[in-house]
């Protein structure tokens, strides 16, 4: 592999890993704070991508679609938490698995009823449609760089919110000991709703951003869901920074796995996870 193709694969790994981070960060927060295993989290990614397709084809611009889509996803997440997930906190994991599995079936069928089962493409916004020439034959699309940039900005923003704001303090405290937080007079149900809606919006945004490069297709959420589980396992439940590191590990393992070991391409990520399980079964970043 020469330097330019190495650079391209590195950028691809970063972009894929950062996008996965958007999905996995919400998943790990919902696990860590609410103690809920949410199989339907991949569906939010799928919903985001279809939302981008529908809104972009009606408004004619992916930008507008994303700007409209984020508040819609936040409202959807808050409603879903209020209607269904708030009943799951005191239930055991099995019932959570069951309910969220049922939700996947519902979301996929609604998608099929409303938008159909065809594969759709979404146009890249004109200002990002170019590519940067890296050598005489190889170039790199600007849109992928833009995705990475958006994800980095969001990761920094998430860091700021979690580490530096009052809300973030409550989220961290809830992650640590929810009974104590309640005893201190903080409305934990409000925190739950905010975190859940945030997780839904991040996953949906990942789907919207990915829609032009991956296209929009049925069951696109399930692969992302399982990969996000792998990320949460590697990073440790509830650890956002663990999720970031693990998402990048997975991004690199998957991208370089496809190039270097094409016949094992689907498996590399899982083999990495198996290795981590042997080494640190609680995830790399889980303390104590």
């Amino acid at each position: 592999m020469d330097f330019v193709s190495f650079l391209i694969q590195t950028l691809n790994s970063l972009q894929y890993g950062l996008l996965l981070f958007l999905v996995a960060s919400g998943l790990t927060l919902v696990f860590g704070i609410m103690g809920i295993i949410n199989l339907a989290h991949g569906s939010f990614y799928m919903i985001g991508a279809y939302l981008a397709f529908v809104l972009a084809s009606t408004t004619g611009s992916l930008f507008t679609a994303i700007l409209l889509g984020i508040p819609l996803a936040l409202i959807f997440g808050a409603l879903l938490e209020w209607a269904l997930f708030s009943h799951l906190y005191k239930r055991d994991h099995l019932e959570q698995v069951l309910l969220t599995y049922g939700l996947i079936l519902i979301f996929e069928e609604l998608r099929s009823l409303l938008v159909g089962d065809e594969v759709h493409g979404v146009d890249i916004p004109a200002m990002f449609s170019g590519s940067i020439q890296l050598s005489e034959v190889l170039s790199y699309p600007v849109y992928r760089l833009a995705i990475s940039a958006v994800c980095i900005v969001l990761a920094v923003a998430l860091y700021f919110v979690i580490q530096r704001t009052r809300l973030g303090m409550m989220i961290r405290a809830g992650n640590h000991d929810r009974t104590m937080v309640e005893a201190l007079g903080i409305n934990i149900n409000m925190i739950y709703r905010v975190v859940f809606a945030l997780g839904v919006a991040l996953a949906a945004l990942a789907g919207m951003l990915a829609s032009p490069i991956s296209s929009v297709f049925p069951n696109m959420g399930s692969h992302v869901l399982i990969i996000s589980f792998v990320i949460v396992v590697i990073g440790g439940i509830g650890s956002v920074w663990g999720a970031l590191a693990a998402a990048l590990i997975v991004g690199f393992a998957d991208t370089f796995g496809k190039v270097l070991l094409p016949e094992l391409s689907g498996m590399v990520v899982y083999i990495v996870m198996a290795g981590v399980l042997l080494w640190r079964p609680e995830g790399i970043f889980k303390k104590g």
Binding site: L99, L103, E108
Partner: protein, 322 residues
């Protein structure tokens, strides 16, 4: 319910199942045969979920390994010997479960659910991407295995009625075997692990070994179901290992009420029943299925097996509490 009535009801259920091939309706014979296979699969998972407290979301992997094993071990245009391919494929799925168990049993709770799912996905890709499987199209099992022993043929799996009774016999065998296991000291330890693993460890049990044995056993029993499935349908695809398959079997276990083998068999019937009924209404039957699942979790904790108890309690004005 005392043991006598319970035994009579079970035998009556068995008698009804035994009469199915007499109807001569090949569609229903195949449908019930498929349901019985899924019931065996669900019972094998119940050993983990219902009795040991291990929520595996990747049980389809062992079902699929055995199904692929039959297809790969059988010669292309000849019948393989049942007495060789059945133990071999079941042994391979147990072996797969043993290896995976060494990894996944290092984790607990939510981690365990996610990690079992991830390993099942790994198994999916093994059959989807490598020469071990036939890609996404799968492999045909052209000739069903033969039960011939030294020239004598006790039954023929080509004959739908014989195949049906063979499956029913396997169901009864797995049921009795699991019942026996659960009565044994080994089974008692598993139930103890479910209720409190730390206490079992404090009592000196090496719980990891017990869990690994249960995981391996469940994988092997799930392999019996996978073997039968491949024989009934004559082809295998990676979809057999998909996470929907793992989800569906978990659904059967939960619908039937975990830790209750008869309930789990009923769960398999309810599941296929719903699939057939909703499927006859609409192409989008999964929407109805999803709605039923969500409603069941919200309004029916404890599954189908909890219904008789609830009726009894409401009849007795909530006084009984057994």
């Amino acid at each position: 319910m005392n043991t006598h009535t319970s035994l009579i009801l079970k035998l009556a259920g068995l008698a009804i199942l035994a009469c199915v091939p007499l109807s001569g309706e090949s569609f229903y014979v195949e449908l019930i045969a498929k349901t019985l296979v899924l019931a065996i699969f669900a019972m094998s998972l119940d050993l983990l979920v219902g009795f040991t407290g291990l929520v595996s979301f990747g049980h389809a992997a062992y079902f699929g390994v055995a199904a692929y094993a039959v297809a790969q071990l059988s010669p292309k245009y000849e019948a393989a010997s049942l007495w060789y391919v059945l133990p071999a494929s079941v042994g391979l799925s147990a072996l797969a479960a043993l290896v995976v168990g060494l990894f996944v049993l290092r984790t607990k709770g939510i981690y365990f659910i996610m990690v079992t799912l991830a390993f099942a996905q790994l198994a999916f890709f093994v059959f989807h991407d490598t020469p071990l499987g036939g890609g996404s199209d799968g492999i045909y099992l052209n000739v069903k295995p033969t039960a011939e022993i030294a020239g004598w043929i006790p039954f023929e799996l080509d004959n739908p009625a014989h195949l049906y009774y063979f499956i029913l016999a396997m169901l009864v065998a797995v049921y009795l075997f699991l019942g026996r296991i659960l009565q044994s000291p080994f089974g008692r330890v598993l139930v103890g692990i479910k209720s409190n693993e730390h206490r079992m460890q404090a009592m000196g049990y090496r719980t990891f070994r017990y869990k690994l044995a249960a995981f391996t056993l469940a994988g092997g029993l799930g392999g019996i179901a996978g073997f039968l499935y491949a024989v009934v349908f004559g082809f295998v695809t990676p979809e057999l290992l998909s996470w929907h398959q793992s989800g569906n079997v978990l659904l059967m276990v939960i619908l039937g009420g975990m830790g209750n083998l008869v309930g789990v068999i009923a769960g398999a019937f309810v599941f296929t029943g719903m699939q057939e009924v909703f499927g006859s209404w609409t192409k989008h039957w999964q929407l109805v299925m999803g709605g039923v699942i969500v409603a069941a979790v919200l309004f029916l904790p404890g599954g189908l097996a909890a219904i008789p108890g609830r009726i009894k309690r409401s009849l007795q004005g909530g006084a009984a509490n057994d």
